[in-house]
Symmetry: C2
């Protein structure tokens, strides 16, 4: 192994093949790994673990990651039946299928809760940590690759640590990470971040050579995901938001360079940021989870001075670009443990402008981010709750319809609630924007229906609201036997639109 990658001679004895390293994982273990969005997750060891099972061994584990990871981890371990319990977020098709079949016990969690659940012992003992790294320092500390996620807590709490040195990950990443650990209550102290770019920790994860049981070299690349092209709907959503920001600045409720932006995962989120490139805003900062392609555009355009996150989440083109211009991006970016990138304390202090995408939103402003038709897990809520609750202004976006118009994303009542009416201040669809601040539930309903619902569904929504308003209790009126009937109708007929009765 290159000396630059393994700088601690004492650890050379721990160099192992993926197969040898995988032997440290036993049936029944709880395994915590690096990885956040398909970035910086271990690949060689999970593949080797899967081989053991394919060869007839019985291995069942609990898997904890930062967030979603690629097919070499979530995909193959779900397909081989190795993962029995999974925390806290996933986006892999095989994993999602197994969860929805009921084969994997999945708990969807606020990402900021995960590190402290590990520290507090709420997941039980962490048997093994597997961490992807670009290098190990002289002292045996770990320099992560394209994400940090939950790695620092995994390393601190695991009995054994396996390190995957990934030579496809640029050594130029060194210096981008800022690793700060909180203590456990009652010994916790203030987190001393007052600007998005503040560096408060070390550029490596403290580990020490004793804990490391195996070091595996690999060059398997991150299986990054393609980003959809910016479509018309996303563009319109982005325009509505930028107009809203301009009006807030005008009204004196936002500084001219706004406040740190947080922007969720996915295509819409990427498009919204992309829209800022052509806006008049300057000197922007970001305090967010994932640093997507559009952030590189904003940095290149000189619009964003600093972006703090817990992972680089580029597309394939973005990855090439990142690697080719690493020095520049490292100067403008900080990768933190997800405990810090998502920390309520910091989000509320900085006053983030939170932009997150919903699956559906109801007329009163409750948001479903996770369960399609109430039961079918899509990904998980990720950090949306961490930011939303603590935002300066919390904005949710949704395209007004899905499935070619057969689903209205604005519904009488969400089929699953991830964010309550108390946490949603602005709703935006391609149709328009509803500013809900200071409105009562019924006023919110009218604002959302008029500004955000698709015209095909607007009359149905108004009709529901008006009939609900005839019931005795008018604070947040509902017709309980009809509230979820749109979803039930979709499940039964394939559309939320009612069948028009044929005239005889």
């Amino acid at each position: 192994m290159e000396k630059e990658r393994l700088r601690c001679p004492a650890l050379e004895a721990k160099i192992a093949t993926a197969e040898e390293a995988a032997l440290f994982i036993k049936d029944g273990d709880t395994v915590a790994t690096s990885g956040f969005t398909p970035s910086g997750y271990p690949k060689a060891v999970p593949l080797a673990l899967a081989e053991r099972v394919k060869n007839g061994e019985k291995i069942e584990i609990t898997l904890i990651t930062g967030a979603s990871v690629g097919s070499e981890l979530d995909g193959i371990l779900a397909e081989t039946g190795i993962v029995k319990r999974r925390f806290p977020y996933q986006t892999n098709n095989s994993m999602r299928k197994a969860i929805n079949k009921g084969d994997i016990q999945y708990a969807d969690m606020h990402l900021s809760h995960v590190p402290q659940f590990i520290d507090y012992g709420f997941f039980g003992k962490i048997d093994v940590a597997i961490i992807e790294a670009i290098a190990i320092t002289e002292e045996g500390h770990i320099i992560p690759s394209t994400s940090v996620g939950v790695s620092p807590q995994a390393v601190a709490n695991a009995e054994k640590v396996i390190v995957e040195i990934n030579t496809s990950q640029s050594l130029a990443l060194e210096g981008v990470h800022d690793i700060y650990m909180t203590k456990k209550p009652p010994f916790r102290e203030p987190i001393p971040i007052v600007h998005s770019g503040d560096r408060i920790g070390t550029p490596y994860i403290v580990c020490g050579s004793d804990k490391i049981v195996a070091i595996v070299e690999t060059d398997i690349t991150d299986k990054v995901r393609p980003l959809g092209a910016v479509d018309e709907d996303s563009k319109k959503i982005s325009e509505h938001i930028i107009k809203f920001f301009e009006a807030e600045v005008e009204a004196g409720r936002l500084p001219e360079n706004l406040l740190p932006l947080q922007s969720g995962v996915g295509s819409v989120a990427n498009a919204v940021l992309a829209g800022l490139v052509d806006s008049k805003f300057e000197d922007l900062t970001c305090y967010t989870e994932v640093i997507q392609d559009s952030m590189f555009d904003l940095i290149d355009a000189g619009k964003v001075t600093v972006a703090s996150g817990t992972s680089f989440t580029p597309s394939e083109e973005g990855l090439v670009r990142l690697n080719e211009n690493m020095e520049k991006y490292v100067k403008h970016c900080v990768l933190r443990p997800m405990e810090i990138s998502n920390h309520p304390e910091v989000a509320r202090r900085l006053g983030v402008l939170a932009l997150n995408t919903a699956i559906e939103i109801d007329i009163y402003g409750h948001v479903n981010s996770t369960n399609i038709m109430g039961s079918r897990m899509m990904n998980g809520l990720g950090g949306s709750g961490d930011f939303t609750r603590n935002a300066y202004i919390s904005i949710f976006t949704t395209v007004s319809t899905a499935k070619n118009g057969d689903i209205s994303s604005i519904v009488p009542k969400v089929s699953h609630c991830d964010h309550t009416e108390h946490d949603v201040q602005v709703v935006v669809s391609e149709i328009g924007l509803a500013d809900l601040r200071g409105l009562s539930p019924r006023e919110r309903a009218r604002a959302i229906i008029e500004n955000c619902a698709h015209p095909d569904y607007r009359p149905m929504l108004l009709d529901y609201l008006e009939r609900a308003e005839q019931t005795p209790f008018k604070h947040e009126p509902h017709l309980l036997d009809e509230a979820l009937s749109w979803h039930a109708r979709f499940l039964a007929t394939g559309t939320m639109k009612p069948k028009v009765e044929k005239q005889a």
Copy 2:
């Protein structure tokens, strides 16, 4: 007026009758007042305002308080139709009725959001602040009475400030308050509290004599509410929780003197704390909103060393006791602005043990704290979300049935969601306790049904779960056309129990 009460001679010119002071309030104004639970709210000026309307004037206002206030404010202003818009919490019967009739536009908010909504200008201009005080200092600063709530932000942002000096409130309260203000982003700094009792501010609300337009003397007492006697159910709930805490200490997941306790409003919350008097726990601390009677018991028993809150919320007996032993309680208590008592930053840092009461909880762990049968506002969510989300462990209590057994407080799906499955770690009823940490939704369902549901409803709940598990998507399975049918049945028939078909 006594010199001790009004220490700023320049302000003597501002002494006015309640009637004169009330004239500063105009039709269309937004009025922000002191008061948190029926403690420390203004009384004389609102009564005088109501008189103007009874005499034929048209006055309609938006009313913002810390939390609930007494009949002289919420009661009379709702009855006279003066309040048209109300934030963020209430418990008064007339107010509640008007909200549920749809006559008052009410927005139920996280209490920690309210101070920053005022600071950020999201409520618009604050025309008048009315603050109950025990005294005004030499410099024209305000020493609050039995609560702090939102008063510091009300004073800082209002155009005009009216002070009610209430001589029924003991001057010995001086020194109990600790007023610390945050700056607006991007200038916010860490809040330097690391122990429940830390004092970081001033013993008065900074105001200055210029802003004060009227000073009214009154002796109307706080209309405190009676506390129900500790009943059998509450006692059992308390016992389950104490046993749980003991086991957590035993397992090394909690320190021997626990972590700062937060305990919600109401009888059950009071009973839970009362149970600690006879427990083996010592050197307890509290970081909470309201300091209720049972806290005095705990302080007297030497069990609690320090209690931090934003208001004293005693019963009538409690109030007598507080006044008679003020010096002692002031030594052990700190009253903070509700921005600080409820701040996510501090709650997460200290690692509060959050104990809150639910109206109903569903099998997957979602909680309804506010809307009976989905639409009928009870009080509001208060600070429950602020603490719950940021707790070390978040516990919700409920008695397993309501209305003589015709309502199950454990339901297939909550009719309104205030706290999601992601924020609820432990559920307790008089039947038992369900520890949900690390469980998938279906595992949670079985834990809650088996440990917390009433035997009358257990088979119905299990039957729902098992049939839902037959549907294609098994992450959090639901039968959408049945999920809210228990509530609909109650509304239609007066009981959630299905009619048993008579055999022919």
